[in-house]
């Protein structure tokens, strides 16, 4: 559907997008994730033809966005970061203009305009001036505009920024709804949002692609060394003695404590953390020591996100590996 190949963009001396490549297939909701200034908007602007690339190619269904802009742009509906609305018009007038500019005429134009008004739930404000609408409604009008012309891909740049919690939920529901009929790409710097709506994540940091895959997959693979947190009545040295024969323990840290309980952090280099926790449990049982509390510290996407953002400079090879792989790649980041 969309194929991005070795895309780079310089703003003067500043490298905003650094050799990004990925493929987007039909029928998914993709989340572009990255901290502010990571290059999300730049990438989206290039994909939609609003910005030129310094290097690289973008193909939309086989049409190059730079060589055949008209054919390529017809396949994309785009909502930029600031909804491009004419404040003195009503949503109805505005949508009619956009529809016409996208080549719709007559009955088809009216039909599509009423359809997108229906879909985005703006029929009760369609005759008011856009400048008087709330931010949530403005965002909806922006999304309605992107839907006109029935594009295959809808690209939304930070559609929930600046909205109140209720509006955010409404827009998220709308995106989920759109995901059923279109391929949707949307960007966000809020992780939970991407986690909630997307079935594919594209993570960008410092202009580089650092991860690409399903959220669960990423979460599973990107876990930092797994860790068991243990509260016991055994003392520091004793714990180490008990666990001496247990495999897959990378490191044991004991929190300094005044009380009779000791809290130990057992780090593992093993994939299956339950393997380790059962071994630990048995070892304590054999030594007749009590485990008051045992919990697993799982890495979550939040940690992964922060780690990847920080490490973007350190691991340039990683994104290359991903590029070589086909379409819905599993993330390779855990290798690093």
């Amino acid at each position: 559907m969309i194929s991005v190949k070795h895309l780079s963009k310089y703003y003067g001396e500043h490298l905003a997008v650094d050799d990004i490549s990925f493929d987007i297939t039909e029928g998914h909701v993709y989340g572009f994730l990255g901290p502010n200034g990571a290059g999300k908007s730049t990438t989206m602007n290039i994909i939609t033809g609003c910005l030129s690339a310094t290097d690289g190619k973008v193909l939309i269904d086989g049409h190059d966005i730079f060589d055949e802009p008209d054919a390529a742009k017809k396949l994309i509906g785009y909502l930029p970061e600031h909804p491009p609305l004419y404040m003195n018009e009503s949503p109805l007038e505005y949508l009619k203009f956009v529809g016409e500019a996208k080549g719709l005429r007559g009955a088809e134009l009216s039909a599509q305009v009423s359809e997108v008004i229906e879909k985005t739930g703006i029929s009760n404000v369609k005759n008011r001036r856009i400048s008087t609408l709330s931010k949530g409604y403005k965002q909806r009008v922006g999304i309605a505009q992107a839907l006109l012309g029935n594009p295959k891909v809808i690209i939304l740049d930070e559609p929930t920024v600046g909205l109140d919690p209720i509006q955010i939920i409404e827009i998220r529901d709308l995106i989920t709804e759109l995901g059923k009929t279109h391929t949707v790409i949307f960007s966000s710097h809020i992780l939970s949002e991407v986690q909630a709506i997307c079935d594919q994540i594209v993570m960008i940091a410092k202009g580089k692609l650092v991860a690409f895959g399903e959220p669960e997959e990423l979460q599973k693979q990107l876990l930092t060394p797994n860790e068991i947190i243990l509260t016991t009545d055994a003392a520091d040295i004793e714990i180490k003695k008990i666990l001496d024969n247990v495999e897959h323990i990378a490191e044991i840290d004991v929190e300094p404590s005044e009380s009779e309980f000791t809290v130990a952090h057992i780090k593992s280099d093993h994939d299956d953390i339950y393997d380790l926790s059962s071994s630990v449990f048995r070892a304590f049982a054999v030594s007749d020591r009590i485990i008051y509390e045992m919990s697993l510290k799982k890495g979550n996407l939040e940690d992964v996100f922060i780690e990847l953002s920080e490490n973007a400079d350190a691991e340039p090879a990683k994104s290359d590996e991903i590029q070589e792989k086909d379409v819905t790649v599993e993330s390779e980041v855990d290798k690093a």
């Binding site: 033809g49 008209d70 742009k73 930029p80 491009p84 007038e93 956009v98 016409e100 996208k102």
Partner: protein, 287 residues
């Protein structure tokens, strides 16, 4: 393109712009017709057009200031870039809409000579010949205004620069008499122009090599020509200023000559500035 054209027209007619522009033009031509045709009882309507052309100094920048500057400010230019419409079509659509707004008061004005001819001898050929020239000259000024609007996102600044540029053009023939006609004066002026040109290129392209290159080459050529044949520069600057004047060429029509070279000059100005506007829009995509 049609969609852009219709959309622009709706903006002009929903706001006051089109009405203010039309009203000003009509009032000015009306005053001119009062003074020349009614009070002084002169039967030449073309004099009225020559007199009222000064109104362009104000009304053209007011009409064109928002055309692209406002799109940038409201970030609606992003929409234009993402639509399957080329930048050339965007500029053409916008320009045609402006011409349409400009044509409406002209249609009213076109009735004047006919009305006057009911009450005396009016030489309609020069009247309408001048009216055509008046239209094309205004169209050329509007093209200049579109380009100026594409340089900034501040409407006020676009209007200010527009007024300054058109005012300078209006008075350039009178000013030409005061500028130095000596070879050295012209060479110095070309030096200043070279620096300005370099600055503009730098501003537009952010390319230092190109900006310095153009500036320095121009300066070098000036110096070379100056030392080889000083006489080439004599009277050159006033000459250029006279040649560049759009208003000066309108006077030829007012004096009863339908000057095709002037028409071609106006048309070239239109094409040149619309081309620059397209480049200015395209440039934003590259920066």
């Amino acid at each position: 393109m049609i969609a852009i054209l219709k959309h622009e027209l709706r903006i002009y007619f929903h706001s006051l712009t089109a009405y203010v522009f039309g009203a000003f033009l009509l009032v000015f031509v009306g005053i001119g017709a009062m003074l020349y045709n009614l009070q002084a009882a002169v039967s030449n309507f073309e004099f009225v057009l020559g007199f009222s052309s000064v109104v362009f100094v104000v009304i053209v920048p007011v009409l064109t200031m928002r055309v692209i500057a406002e799109e940038r400010k409201q970030k609606t230019d992003q929409l234009l870039y993402s639509l399957p419409v080329s930048t050339t079509k965007v500029i053409l659509g916008k320009y045609l809409a402006l011409l349409f707004v400009y044509l409406i008061p002209l249609c009213v004005i076109a009735a004047y000579p006919v009305i006057f001819s009911q009450y005396g001898d009016v030489y309609l050929v020069t009247s309408y010949g001048s009216l055509i020239a008046f239209f094309i000259m205004g169209a050329a000024l509007i093209a200049v205004g579109v380009f100026i609007s594409s340089l900034t996102e501040n409407q006020g600044l676009a209007a200010g620069i527009g007024i300054a540029v058109i005012l300078f053009n209006y008075f350039s023939v009178s000013l030409a008499e005061y500028v130095s006609a000596t070879a050295f004066g012209t060479a110095a002026a070309i030096f200043i122009i070279a620096v300005l040109l370099g600055w503009i290129i730098h501003h537009l392209t952010k390319n230092n090599t190109l900006a310095y290159g153009v500036s320095l080459v121009l300066m070098a050529v000036t110096v070379a020509v100056f030392f080889v044949d000083e006489t080439k520069f004599e009277g050159l600057l006033p000459d250029i200023m006279k040649k560049l004047s759009l208003f000066d060429r309108l006077d030829t029509f007012v004096n009863g000559v339908f000057d095709m070279t002037a028409i071609i000059y106006f048309l070239s100005v239109i094409v040149f500035f619309l081309f620059l506007s397209v480049q200015s829009l395209e440039k934003r995509r590259y920066n």
